[in-house]
């Protein structure tokens, strides 16, 4: 199966669980399982190629100019991780099906899980590091959703936030590191980067890049000092903990270290940073884990410890260390996921995860006992189980590692880590399963159904099989190791064996196990000592830092951003003018190339009216009705100006828009106060006026200068004028540009218009659904009501001219391609025709007679325009290519048929729908405020105001 499908399947599959939610829990889990299984099988189809040592590639150029390509690569390492992600994912899905209770929204859970799975598979298959970063951030986001899945738990929310903060910060650092790496190599493709070891390590920016990338890896893989988020993420449901926090996500950082191993490792910086961090994490995690009473917290810290172990192995920079790391990743994923699932079973059945309240479960839950014990013993490093093998390899590697010039530092610390690791494993077995059966469990524990114990049992079978017959896993692990080493070093020849002879590692192992047993024996005094020792609490430190950062941000932002819009507007205006002034002063201005045209008395009269109206608005804006009338005059003068300067289409549009805008503002003024009180001081008004005058002078100067000069380059309008008739089949160039040359722009614009109208509708609905409704119903009008709500003259007149107006609209629409007109203008005209009916005959009368919802009209318009565009695909032309032809149907003249007309129809419908939906929403507010409307067709007879006597049927037209 193509790599694209393997990555895309979980993402597209994520749509399904939500849809299947109503079909029941089994269907919901089933569809999720099927999606994962399909991706899993798809991955396995690539196994033969991988075993043959090939690298499977898939490539699509996405943004080549940025070096960002959708390139996928599957080699041994990627295959190994993808196998873990999808394989354990399948077990987790089966487990979660039975784990989640009926109150949990299963569709939501599986959607998040599949998103996470897709992002994770994306990380391990990416060949482009920028693409990898995108998937990397996606895992942070989806794990945030999964950790906080139980939204009612404050621990879940805090844990999710902490995980997102820590891993998100690391991700940001890593972006920086990856960009540096890409700059050094000159390519963002991993396959190229991995070939340039010497170039990268010789670069002066190698150390910053290394540190930034390691920050990303350490935060993700919970390495000291960023380990603290992982235990808090345990507030997640147990399937999430088992999947994300033991088997997959926390290994993403390790994966990346392994992926970058050929180019980043082997330097002293890498060795010191990675080995030290890993070593500290391993010991610290193991010690803390021993003293945790919550089963999941114990496992969480043990995961931290084992991740440290793997990191340390990668840090050594030797081929054997890398091989041991890969082997331990496999082993850890099997036994730790099994242990998490067992912990989940215990929590599920006994209703507690507190080790102090458990004990004696061996007799009550025999199956769980066997599963968990085998997994725990493997983790402790007992022979014949897989944990023993890789731990032995780790100890072997440790004896050869010299850190800070001390040959004993690493071996001793590794033994101590193993000792505590063995101790908490024994504690887990001893304090949970051994001992007498108690009678005070919160619930009576018993073994769960097969759905819960089967997934961990399958993993434990692997634990035993690898432990007994390590040669089965050997070829695969060596294959993976080979792709980690990337040809820099040779794959070690050492065989995977249970018995290596009396080597130091064996004695260290024995010391760890005996020490672990002793530790368990003196557990109670040790616990008292531990509890008595003061320790820094990571969460408190984290909270303090976050709070300090928030305080700092507030102290900067709040004074700047104080919620005063007028201040922002003033600052913005001044800044724009200042930037323009700077450009003006530093640029050059040529001499005027155009003659000033003479102005006759008519333009001067129009200008005077416009200036007077604008001035009136400024000086009398406190009277809101008056300023509304004045702005109408301004709009009218602008329309006339368009006519005068050879823009008939613009004039018609401006004129019709003017009408609907004024109606809209009148409707709004119905609710708003009619006067603006005097609030601002004289000083403030002077300040505002000076800002305004400066802005006005700037635009005046700019406009005046360019009006007297020709364009520097010849405008593209020449092309439009020359091709309008030949190519677009229309003589009205403006309309042809709208529906043909720039049709895609127009398409976007009608969509924006539709969205604006829907937004208004949604806001109205929200207002009417909330407490505002009561206020609207109770409000008193501040204006005198008209004596006659629906004057007869107006009612009759609007109804008579309705067909005429529609006819005009139709005419304007049809002539649009060749004469001034078109979809925008006719849409506005038809809207005005309908609005007139609302105004004259009342809201309910009109809406009762309208059969089409305006949403539908908008949608139909956008659809028709879009389908017209798609139509050109069928003749192998790009989107929105237009065509036209001339037909003749006797006895008419020959006339033109153009696909552009169909597109214009879409524009027309969208405009009608959008304008009407906006205005209707506003008047719906008013309608709720009014008395119920009369149901008579014409509200002209005052006697009807009297309520009819009881029992008398009201008849229409009586």
């Amino acid at each position: 199966m193509s790599l694209f499908f393997i990555v895309a399947l979980p993402f597209f599959g994520a749509l399904l669980p939500g849809l299947m939610n109503t079909a029941g829990r089994a269907a919901c889990a089933g569809v999720t399982f099927t999606v994962s299984l399909a991706a899993f099988i798809g991955l396995l189809t690539n196994l033969p190629a991988i075993m043959a040592g090939e690298v499977v590639m898939a490539r699509v150029d996405w943004i080549p100019s940025l070096g960002l390509n959708f390139t996928l690569m599957l080699d041994g390492l990627g295959f190994f991780f993808a196998l873990l992600i999808l394989g354990i994912g399948l077990l987790i899905i089966a487990y979660a099906r039975h784990y989640l209770s009926r109150d949990d929204n299963m569709g939501e859970f599986f959607t998040y899980l599949l998103l996470f799975q897709g992002a994770m598979v994306g990380i391990v298959l990416s060949d482009n590091i920028l693409l990898l970063l995108i998937f990397w951030e996606l895992t942070s986001l989806s794990s945030f959703l999964l950790i906080g899945y139980w939204k009612h738990l404050p621990e879940g929310r805090q844990g999710a936030r902490m995980a997102l903060t820590v891993t998100g910060m690391g991700g940001l650092a890593m972006i920086g590191g990856m960009l540096i790496l890409g700059q050094i190599v000159g390519s963002y493709d991993l396959s190229v980067i991995l070939q340039n070891r010497d170039l990268i390590q010789a670069d002066p920016l190698y150390v910053p890049a290394l540190i930034l990338i390691l920050l990303g890896c350490f935060t993700k893989s919970a390495q000291f000092p960023f380990h603290f988020w992982l235990p808090h993420a345990m507030a997640a449901p147990t399937p999430v903990s088992a999947y994300l926090h033991s088997a997959t996500m926390v290994k993403a950082g390790i994966f990346l270290m392994a992926r970058m191993w050929p180019v980043l490792s082997g330097t002293p910086e890498w060795f010191v940073i990675v080995t030290t961090a890993g070593l500290i994490t391993m010991v610290l995690g193991a010690v803390i884990a021993l003293f945790k009473h919550d089963l999941k917290a114990l496992l969480a810290f043990s995961t931290v410890s084992h991740l440290g172990l793997i990191t340390m192995l990668l840090g050594t920079g030797t081929a054997f260390g890398a091989m041991a790391a890969m082997f331990h990743i496999l082993n850890h994923a099997t036994f730790k996921a099994a242990l998490f699932m067992s912990a989940g079973i215990i929590d599920h059945e006994a209703h507690t995860r507190d080790i102090r309240r458990l004990g004696g479960l061996r007799k009550l839950m025999p199956i769980t006992f066997i599963v968990a014990t085998l997994a725990a013993l493997s983790m402790a490093g007992i022979p014949l189980l897989n944990g023993f093998l890789s731990k032995e390899m780790m100890l072997e590697e440790a004896t050869h590692t010299v850190l800070f010039n001390s040959p004993w530092l690493v071996p001793v610390l590794a033994t101590i880590g193993s000792l505590f690791s063995a101790a908490y494993c024994f504690r887990l077995i001893g304090h949970v399963f051994m001992g007498p059966v108690r009678d005070d469990y919160p619930a009576k524990p018993h073994d769960p159904g097969a759905g819960l114990w089967m997934p961990p049992a399958i993993l434990v079978v692997l634990v035993v099989v690898i432990g007994v017959a390590p040669f089965l896993a050997e070829p695969f692990v060596k294959l993976v190791t080979a792709s980690v080493l990337g040809g820099v070093l040779d794959v070690p020849t050492a065989y995977f064996k249970i018995w290596h002879g009396l080597v130091p590692a064996l004695f260290m192992s024995i010391a760890a196990i005996i020490g672990g047993l002793l530790m368990l024996a003196i557990f109670n005094p040790a616990l008292r000592l531990w509890d008595g020792t003061p320790r820094p609490e990571a969460k408190t430190i984290f909270d303090t830092i976050v709070e300090a950062a928030a305080k700092l941000a507030q102290s900067i932002i709040l004074p700047l951003h104080n919620g005063a819009f007028s201040r922002y507007a003033a600052v913005g205006t001044a800044a724009i003018v200042a930037v323009g002034f700077h450009a003006w002063m530093t640029g050059t201005v040529g001499a005027p190339t155009r003659e000033m045209q003479p102005a006759g008395p008519v333009p001067i009269a129009g200008w005077l009216m416009l200036v007077a109206a604008t001035g009136g608005m400024v000086f009398m804006h406190r009277n809101r009705f008056l300023s509304l009338i004045l702005i109408g005059i301004v709009g009218l003068m602008v329309s006339i100006g368009f006519v005068f300067f050879s823009a008939p289409d613009l004039a018609m549009t401006q004129f019709t828009v003017e009408v609907v805008t004024i109606i809209l503002l009148l409707l709004a003024l119905n609710f708003l106060p009619n006067h603006t009180p005097i609030e601002s001081t004289v000083l403030r008004r002077v300040r505002d006026a000076s800002v305004a005058i400066v802005g006005g002078l700037a635009t005046f100067g700019l406009a005046y200068h360019y009006l007297l000069r020709d364009a520097v380059a010849s405008p593209i309008s020449e092309f439009h004028l020359a091709n309008s008739y030949k190519g677009g089949g229309g003589t009205n160039v403006v309309n042809v540009i709208l529906v043909d040359f720039r049709g895609f722009d127009t398409y976007g614009e009608i969509i924006v218009l539709g969205i604006a109208a829907l937004l208004i509708y949604a806001l109205t609905e929200t207002l009417l659904g909330g407490p505002v409704r009561a206020r609207l119903l109770n409000r008193k009008h501040d204006q005198a009501r008209a004596g006659d709500m629906h004057p007869m003259m107006m009612v009759v007149l609007t109804r008579v001219i309705m067909p005429v107006v529609l006819m005009v609209g139709f005419y304007i629409f049809l002539r649009g391609h060749n004469e001034p007109g078109g979809g925008f203008i006719s849409g506005l005209i038809v809207s005005i025709a309908v609005v007139m009916q609302y105004m004259a005959s009342g809201f309910s009368w009109t809406s009762a007679r309208l059969r089409y919802p305006y949403h539908g009209v908008i949608g139909a318009g956008v659809l028709i325009a879009g389908l017209t565009g798609i139509g050109s695909w069928f003749v192998s032309k790009p989107f929105l290519t237009s065509d036209f032809t001339y037909v003749r149907i006797p006895p008419f003249h020959e006339f033109e048929l153009a696909t552009a007309a169909l597109f214009d129809l879409g524009v027309f419908l969208a405009v009608v729908g959008a304008v009407m939906l906006s205005l209707e929403s506003f008047s719906r507010l008013a309608r709720r405020a009014h008395m119920p409307e009369t149901e008579h067709p014409m509200d002209i007879d005052p006697s009807r105001e009297m309520p009819p006597p009881e029992g008398t049927p009201v008849r229409e037209g009586a």
Partner: protein, 118 residues
């Protein structure tokens, strides 16, 4: 003529900015509308001023007004209606919700007089 158009743009901008800086929603909305006119005319004028030559192709005529700014301004006019409507709705919603039509955040409002009455 150029002086008239340029000064009209400047005057409408001045009025628009002044009203934009007022404290209540309604004058601010009118200011935005005024500014919209100014911007539309400004854009339109980038095709320079031509009288008596609409861009509708006729035989034997070769000089036309620049059609491209006209087409762009045409959609701008319609879109600005949509945007004005949205802004008006937001302003109206804010007023109906809090009985206050200030555009700036009010630091600490005294008790709402309207609520005391009802």
């Amino acid at each position: 003529m150029e002086l008239l158009v340029a000064s009209a743009i400047g005057i409408m901008t001045t009025g628009g900015i002044y009203l934009l800086l007022r404290l209540r929603t309604f004058p601010v909305i009118l200011g935005i509308s005024l500014l919209t006119y100014a911007v539309n005319v400004f854009l339109f004028a980038s095709g320079r001023l031509t009288t008596g030559a609409p861009p509708v192709l006729r035989d034997d005529i070769t000089a036309y007004a620049d059609p491209l700014p006209q087409a762009l301004v045409l959609t701008a006019i319609v879109i600005s209606f949509g945007m004005t409507a949205v802004v008006v709705m937001i302003g109206l919603g804010a007023f109906l919700g809090s009985n206050d039509d200030h555009v700036d955040d009010q630091p600490d409002l005294p008790e709402d007089p309207a609520e005391g009455q009802s």
